[in-house]
């Protein structure tokens, strides 16, 4: 079936299988492998992308449901070769170890910033509650988002 949507500012018109998920299309059709398939069940958040301004698990959205939508993935965060302040804050805070959860963490944090540029720590923790990290640890990740929120980067 035909799917027309926008990803990282660019319009695409693709022919997709009805049973494809948004995650499948991003990774396999568009080669945007930032979003990861961790659990495939909406528990780990590694596949998080932003759809029309809201964080979603791309493993739980059918590709067809993204018709007409604007998707932002981690590949779209940096602009003109400049990292997003969240990405810089993750680097500065050592908030990355294996990196598997990082794109999802960044997109959940970015979605939070889109509606609340100066969130409290509680708000940050709530926004990231659906993103699991099994190696870096959450403290550095929360600190990175706090830094980015305070404009320290």
């Amino acid at each position: 079936m035909k799917l027309e949507f926008k990803v990282n500012g660019k319009t695409y018109e693709l022919d997709v299988d009805p049973e494809s998920r948004l995650l499948d299309v991003l990774r396999e059709e568009l080669g945007l492998t930032g979003a990861k398939e961790g659990c495939g069940e909406g528990e780990c958040g590694a596949c998080t992308v932003i759809m029309d301004g809201l964080a979603v698990n791309s493993c739980l959205v059918l590709a067809a449901q993204a018709r007409g939508k604007e998707i932002l993935t981690v590949e779209g965060l940096a602009e003109n070769g400049e990292l997003d302040r969240l990405q810089q804050a993750f680097i500065d805070n050592g908030a990355i170890q294996c990196g598997y959860c990082t794109p999802g963490m960044l997109m959940s944090a970015k979605a939070l910033f889109l509606r609340n540029p100066h969130p409290s720590e509680t708000e940050i923790r709530t926004a990231l509650a659906g993103n699991l990290c099994r190696c870096t640890g959450y403290v550095n990740i929360i600190n990175a988002v706090k830094d980015a929120a305070e404009g320290a980067v």
């Binding site: 909406g42 528990e43 739980l60 509650a129 659906g130």
Partner: protein, 308 residues
């Protein structure tokens, strides 16, 4: 990979209903898809056709007030429930259920209609809807019908027939001059994201310091949430004078805790979780009453997070 199915993307509600009756084979509606997509992938559910409701405008429009009712469309997401000013004002327990369900990503997609249609025993919206005495409109090719949530919960068979969908949820407003307080709390294996092991919704209406209505529903201890009719009756008509409110609140919490333990014992006798739930449910009682009487400072600030 998912088993094969086709997907129809209707532009409006009438088309969705027409498509549902026209298409051949097993036809399922999908909106947020946060449960259904997993069930299709695991083979728990099978479909020849999915009808996507996520862009049907009639189902996504914002909550409104109409004829003494708060009217919600079935496509309202849990994120919207938790932030919408009308829901927060008139159906606070439903807003609390909305903000405590799942993760931000799930709340952004999961819908109230889907939560009703799947009617999970641990679903967070149902106790809130039961306590609010909500009504649900179901539509199909044979027309629309409205059921109370109590009727839905009491029904032996699935109330939603094949190719029918939930379109609206109606919540009666408190009458003029009546103050409604309501809250929702839950316990899961962690404070966020996890499925409820127990959940409890409460609505209390006061008129000049007298309890006019008490409505409670407890979930995740059986197939469907249970209304606490006997307990409710005990407290209706009781005065809550400012000077004795703390004492009354304490009594309500104490009797509610006891009543809930009894309810758990009756609902799941011998179940492995009974020993835990009969105790844990008492914490919900105290949390909920603390929220209903915020001026009494009864909150421990530890357990439920209904007051956020």
């Amino acid at each position: 990979m998912m088993p094969e199915f086709q997907i129809a993307c209707p532009q409006n509600l009438a088309d969705a209903i027409t498509e549902a009756s026209r298409l051949q084979g097993e036809v399922l509606f999908v909106n947020g898809g946060t449960d259904l997509i997993l069930e299709l992938r695991s083979g728990q559910k099978k479909a020849d056709w999915l009808i996507d409701l996520s862009q049907v405008p009639e189902l996504q429009s914002l909550p409104t007030l109409e004829n003494g009712m708060l009217k919600l469309r079935s496509g309202v997401t849990f994120t919207r429930l938790s932030t919408d000013p009308l829901v927060r004002k008139h159906a606070r327990c439903l807003a609390h259920a909305g903000e405590q369900m799942g993760s931000a990503q799930i709340r952004n997609r999961a819908t109230l209609g889907g939560n009703i249609a799947s009617a999970s025993p641990a679903g967070d919206s149902l106790p809130a809807l039961a306590a609010l005495e909500a009504e649900v409109t179901i539509e199909g090719s044979e027309g629309a019908r409205t059921l109370t949530v109590a009727e839905m919960l009491a029904a032996k068979e699935k109330t939603l027939k094949a190719r029918e969908l939930v379109t609206e949820i109606l919540i009666p407003l408190a009458e003029q001059g009546i103050e409604r307080r309501s809250t929702f709390t839950k316990i899961g294996s962690r404070t966020q994201v996890s499925i409820a092991r127990l959940n409890l919704a409460a609505v209390m209406e006061l008129e000049h310091g007298v309890i006019r209505k008490m409505r409670l529903a407890v979930g995740a201890i059986g197939k469907a949430p249970l209304r606490l009719y006997e307990f409710e009756k005990e407290w209706e008509g009781k005065a809550v004078k400012a000077e004795s409110a703390g004492k009354i609140a304490g009594e309500i919490a104490g009797t509610l805790a006891e009543f809930l333990t009894k309810t758990v014992d009756q609902a799941i006798p011998g179940r492995h979780s009974q020993a835990y739930k009969r105790q844990a449910v008492q914490a919900l009682a105290f949390d909920v009453v603390a929220e209903l009487f915020p001026e009494q400072g009864l909150g421990q600030g530890g357990g439920g997070n209904g007051g956020r």
